[in-house]
């Protein structure tokens, strides 16, 4: 049966921890710190707007680029938030989450053999979509520098075939983010070496210690950057699947071409809900961000007290925790913890080879769950010492 499949898909590496995921999914009564989505339900006004649009009979396709009203709202939103000017007519595309935007971006930019720089640990899709597009992911290991990308690290990986870089901050899985000054230095290297920047800033509203700087706001960066963002994390709307891409007209046009043949348009219900999220969601976003920030204090303190060290995350809702002192690999640690205490975490190796020795813990979970998980992990660690 195998030979019916395309060579490309067969060659695409399945995630090394797929079996571990299946193990978790098959188990009941698990306390999960393994989830990559908010534990809040979408704010009611947003859900209500979706329901209302259905009652009004708004069930058709929308324009390929997405509802004009939504594109206009996004344009105004970015103007207000980052003082960015993106034209709703031709510089914004509504996509099925950031995932689709990322796939379209890479497919629009990459020729076979082109190299794409991917700082690791990274979100799992970046290498996969690059390979599917015929490109070559070039990994930049950031583990020696507290998981922070630097201009030097970039320079070391540049050659004539490197075309673009995919940035993601605040970062999944490490929670690392960057100050404006740090980003400016990175931007200078990109501009100097004509490296195009795809920036995934979907966690930006969950930035805790300093103001989030959007990459296209840096000097000279806007023309050289594709900005990806979405509603999933900020507005707790993962299941609605709405994201958007903003960038130079020719790139948005190219992406729209693929999008119109493959997706047609994003679900209209979700688009109406997204309009409402931009209209009335700010206070919910702030409330949720405050809640995550408090949980961050709880879990950061909790894990360090247990002797499992990590850096204080600057954003998102993840801790990337070293388990090296237990003598176990990421996968062994995760499996044993699951078996003995029914606590699920994600092995760091899911996010690139340099994640070995780490686990990703998500604090998008209630206080009670987090406290109980910490209690169980303490038992687990004691049983091993």
């Amino acid at each position: 049966m195998k030979n019916i499949l395309s060579k490309k898909v067969v060659e695409l590496q399945p995630s090394g921890i797929r079996m571990f995921f299946d193990l978790v999914l098959g188990m009941k009564n698990v306390i999960s710190l393994g989830v990559g989505e908010p534990d809040f339900v979408t704010p009611w006004p947003v859900r209500e707007a979706g329901i209302y649009s259905l009652e009004e009979g708004l069930t058709s396709y929308t324009s390929n680029k997405g509802l004009y009203k939504l594109r206009l709202s996004i344009s105004n939103y970015l103007k207000k938030k980052h003082n960015l000017d993106y034209c709703p007519d031709n510089e914004i595309l509504i996509t099925v989450g950031v995932s689709e935007a990322l796939d379209l971006a890479v497919r629009s930019l990459v020729n076979p053999g082109d190299k794409v720089l991917i700082p690791i640990p990274s979100y799992v899709s970046y290498p996969a979509v690059t390979e599917l597009a015929g490109g070559r992911p070039i990994y930049i290991d950031t583990s020696a520098n507290k998981f922070k990308l630097t201009p030097d690290l970039i320079k070391r990986h540049i050659d004539k075939n490197v075309k673009a870089i995919i940035l993601n901050y605040p970062n999944n899985p490490t929670g690392v983010s960057y100050t404006r000054k740090e980003l400016s230095e990175i931007n200078k290297v990109l501009l100097k070496n004509r490296l195009f920047c795809i920036t995934d800033e979907v966690y930006q509203d969950l930035t805790y210690d300093f103001e989030h700087t959007s990459f296209p706001t840096l000097p000279g960066a806007k023309k050289n950057t594709l900005y990806l963002d979405g509603f999933s994390k900020s507005f707790a709307m993962t299941g609605w699947r709405v994201g958007f891409a903003c960038g130079p007209k020719d790139i948005i046009d190219a992406m729209t071409k693929i999008h119109q043949y493959t997706i047609m348009c994003v679900s209209i219900t979700s688009q109406w809900a997204a309009c409402e999220a931009l209209h009335s969601g700010k206070k919910f976003v702030e409330e949720m961000a405050r809640e995550y920030q408090r949980r961050r204090e709880l879990v950061y303190e909790g894990f360090n007290r247990l002797g499992l060290s990590c850096f204080m995350p600057e954003g998102a809702f993840y801790l990337f925790i070293s388990v090296k002192k237990t003598g176990l690999t990421s996968l062994e640690f995760s499996k044993k913890l699951l078996d003995s205490q029914k606590v699920a975490v994600v092995p760091g190796t899911a996010f690139g080879s340099c994640g070995e020795g780490y686990i990703r813990v998500s604090y998008a979970s209630s206080f009670e769950n987090l406290k109980e998980a910490l209690r169980r992990i303490e038992i687990f660690l004691k049983s091993r010492s």
């Binding site: 978790v24 989830v35 979100y123 699920a344 994600v346 206080f367």
Partner: protein
């Protein structure tokens, strides 16, 4: 609003130690702040929110919202009459409101009978009470910001990237 209040309003059982962790303050600071709030009456009391529909006994009780029309008194307006009414232990909430009537009461009793006795024997005969409309509550959907519904647990998948 102070974060301490925000946390306690959500869960009154959060300990000072936990609040200290969550807000990056010292335990001492948190305890002092809470004592101050309690003393000033900002924090009135700590209680559990019950869904009495799920209490399977006969004494779950009866509740009624009662609209009261009163004749205000010279110099003191509604205050004295309101005071005479809200002192009754049956009255758990009492508000002066705008509109077609003056006071809105939440009255709780063991049975229909106790509530109607209160209305007929205590409330209605009061000298400044001009009229009373009693609404017995049939079902509680939401209280103190909590939706009281026995919900199926939403199965958020246990692990994802």
């Amino acid at each position: 609003m102070d974060e301490i209040l925000e946390i306690l309003e959500k869960d009154g059982r959060t300990t000072a130690e936990e609040i200290a962790k969550l807000t990056k303050r010292s335990v001492g600071q948190v305890k002092t702040a809470i004592r101050k709030y309690e003393k000033e009456g900002v924090i009135v009391k700590y209680k559990a929110v019950l869904n009495k529909d799920l209490v399977h006994t006969d004494d779950a009780g009866v509740r009624a919202l009662i609209e009261v029309n009163i004749m205000p008194q010279k110099d003191v307006g509604f205050e004295n009459v309101a005071q005479r009414i809200y002192q009754f232990p049956e009255v758990s909430n009492c508000y002066l409101i705008s509109g077609t009537y003056d006071l809105l009461l939440l009255v709780e009793g063991k049975s229909l009978h106790t509530v109607s006795n209160f209305v007929a024997e205590k409330l209605s005969p009061m000298p400044n009470v001009r009229g009373v409309v009693t609404h017995f509550m049939l079902k509680k959907y939401k209280e103190d910001g909590v939706i009281l519904r026995h919900k199926e647990d939403h199965e958020r998948i246990n692990i994802s990237y």
